[in-house]
């Protein structure tokens, strides 16, 4: 059997395992789905609320605001779901106690992450699609002028950079068995703060605005909003795509290298064995 066939089968092992976990924990998936839909709808209703509070003033376009919030919640749901699935590459195995069996298998970390990432992207796309469907039904969204292809391209390009961020964050459960998984929430909360999910980055104070420049989510949100709200052409979206592609090209290998160092550290200090 060639090395490539083995690595492909190993990649599929992670995809199949995660699919089985999702299937077996279907009731939790339903709870999470209902929460996500309710979260997205309640934020998006703020747009309609603004219009009403403005007393029908022509300065407040409720429809525009609803779509602005819908895009924010959907993009954020998609990116954060990818992030959590990837950071869970160690967390879930610590929880189940299987980490030693996975890490002693003859599988490269690249293959390991590829399997986890492939599943994360597919799962996140499907999950976000269901939340989008709920929004379309409730808000009667008109997307006739939207550049759907461009928006999707920005979203997929942004996935790569978030994969890199996720790989870096996944070392936290490796290094800190008891609290590592919770630490990843801090990172995602900071990204939520600075990336302009529910407001334009321009309203942020200067230091946070600087931080927004380094968040891949800033570009993904900016690009998808331009595509879906303004109908900007795909070529014009390039200014949002290239920064996230460059971030992905840098963050993924750097993330893998950092993960490798963390794994060696855990093997030196005996942290693999301890369960959180």
């Amino acid at each position: 059997m060639s090395l490539a066939v083995h690595q492909l089968r190993a990649t599929y092992a992670f995809v199949e395992r995660n699919a089985n976990i999702v299937r077996r924990y279907w009731s939790w998936e339903m709870v999470w789905m209902i929460y996500s839909i309710a979260d997205s709808l309640s934020v998006s209703f703020i747009g309609m609320g603004f219009e009403q509070m403005g007393g029908g003033s022509s300065e407040v376009d409720g429809r525009y605001l609803v779509l602005y919030f819908v895009i924010g919640t959907l993009v954020w749901r998609y990116l954060s779901t990818i992030f959590y699935w990837i950071t869970d590459v160690i967390g879930i195995e610590r929880w189940e106690g299987t980490i030693e069996y996975t890490l002693m298998a003859p599988v490269s970390r690249l293959t390991h992450m590829a399997g986890q990432t492939f599943f994360a992207v597919i799962y996140s796309l499907l999950f976000t699609a269901v939340v989008l469907l709920a929004n379309v039904v409730v808000f009667d969204i008109d997307m006739q002028q939207a550049n759907l292809l461009g928006g999707t391209l920005v979203l997929l390009a942004g996935s790569f950079s978030f994969i890199g961020v996720g790989i870096m964050a996944s070392i936290l459960p490796l290094l800190f068995p008891e609290r590592g998984s919770q630490m990843t929430h801090v990172l995602i909360a900071l990204l939520l703060l600075v990336s302009g999910v529910y407001y334009p980055v321009s309203v942020l104070p200067s230091p946070l605005k600087e931080m927004a420049t380094f968040s891949p989510a800033t570009y993904v949100l900016g690009g998808t909003r331009q595509a879906l709200l303004e109908g900007v052409s795909t070529i014009e979206l390039w200014i949002y795509i290239w920064p996230v592609l460059i971030m992905g090209v840098i963050l993924i290998p750097v993330g893998l290298w950092i993960f490798r160092q963390a794994e060696l550290y855990a093997k030196r200090t005996g942290k693999l064995h301890r369960n959180g």
Partner: protein, 288 residues
């Protein structure tokens, strides 16, 4: 017969030697959450494996006896590439576990005292995952899983139910099956029969014998069960506080101590004489 495993002067310690100055400056000591910690909040240095050397021949069943915290599990983790030694070398079929871990991983598998699985998944789903990591194809795995698990006495219906619905003994059998699926040349068994009922214990022991006799698998077995060690192992090393205090065939080990009450000494007598401890009385103190 060639060497399957060569362990040479291996040292592994845990804990941190350096004092934390900032902790000493504090007017109070932060909660260190554990009696093992020193005043400075760091765990004391524990020599889990202390300059251990031995070799195993291909096809041999090599036993390691020792009290809890004696270093047996650490030794197995070192061989299985899950820990890096602080000093010394370990080779498995001439491959170094530190410099050539991937090549070593292809040749080994392990059964630990805790049957570690995704609890909501079924044995079939867990074993599919485990075997795919070793490059096996799905169709082969499914038929092999049924064959091995029924050989180990597992009901066919149980193979598709979640692991959490199974007894510990049944889970341990699935753990043995997981290790066998990848056809390892070296099998590391870390107390594989602990907690099993007598019948299950015999079934697992029969599989261990069969693996060696029919497939020539080399086996490293740690156990608390003296009878198991005596009947299964070609040679036995007795470990205490991270060091090997004696190593020989079961028969020769029994000649190392004087006869108590005129009876032929048992392995337990030998162990008590050499370590001054009972095998299972000490509280669990494994450090890694």
């Amino acid at each position: 017969m060639s060497n399957a495993v060569v362990v040479n002067e291996v040292l592994k310690k845990f804990g941190k030697p350096t004092d934390q100055t900032w902790r000493r400056l504090l007017p109070y000591k932060p909660n260190t959450n554990g009696s093992k910690s020193q005043d400075n909040g760091r765990k004391p240095i524990v020599l889990a494996v202390n300059r251990v050397s031995f070799d195993m021949l291909e096809g041999e069943i090599f036993g390691v006896l020792g009290p809890n915290g004696g270093g047996k599990s650490t030794l197995i983790r070192l061989i299985s590439t899950l820990l890096l030694p602080d000093a010394g070398t370990i080779t498995v079929f001439d491959r170094d576990v530190v410099r050539q871990p991937r090549q070593v991983q292809w040749m080994i598998n392990r059964v630990s005292v805790e049957a570690s699985f995704f609890k909501k998944l079924s044995p079939m789903e867990n074993l599919l995952y485990g075997a795919r990591l070793y490059g096996m194809a799905g169709g082969d795995i499914r038929s092999k899983v049924i064959e091995i698990l029924t050989r180990l006495g597992l009901d066919k219906r149980a193979i598709l139910n979640p692991m959490e619905e199974m007894s510990r003994g049944m889970q341990q059998k699935v753990a043995v099956a997981r290790a066998l699926l990848s056809r390892p040349r070296l099998l590391l068994l870390d107390e594989p029969t602990t907690g099993l009922d007598p019948r299950s214990k015999r079934e697992v022991q029969a599989v261990v014998r069969e693996l060696r006799e029919e497939h020539g698998v080399t086996i490293l077995l740690t156990t608390h069960d003296m009878t198991e060690a005596e009947t299964l192992c070609d040679r036995i090393a007795i470990m205490d506080q991270g060091s090997i205090v004696a190593m020989n065939t079961p028969e020769k080990l029994c000649t190392m101590v004087p006869s108590p009450n005129g009876h032929k000494p048992t392995l337990e007598d030998v162990f008590l004489e050499l370590t001054g401890k009972s095998l299972v009385a000490d509280e669990e103190k494994e450090v890694a």
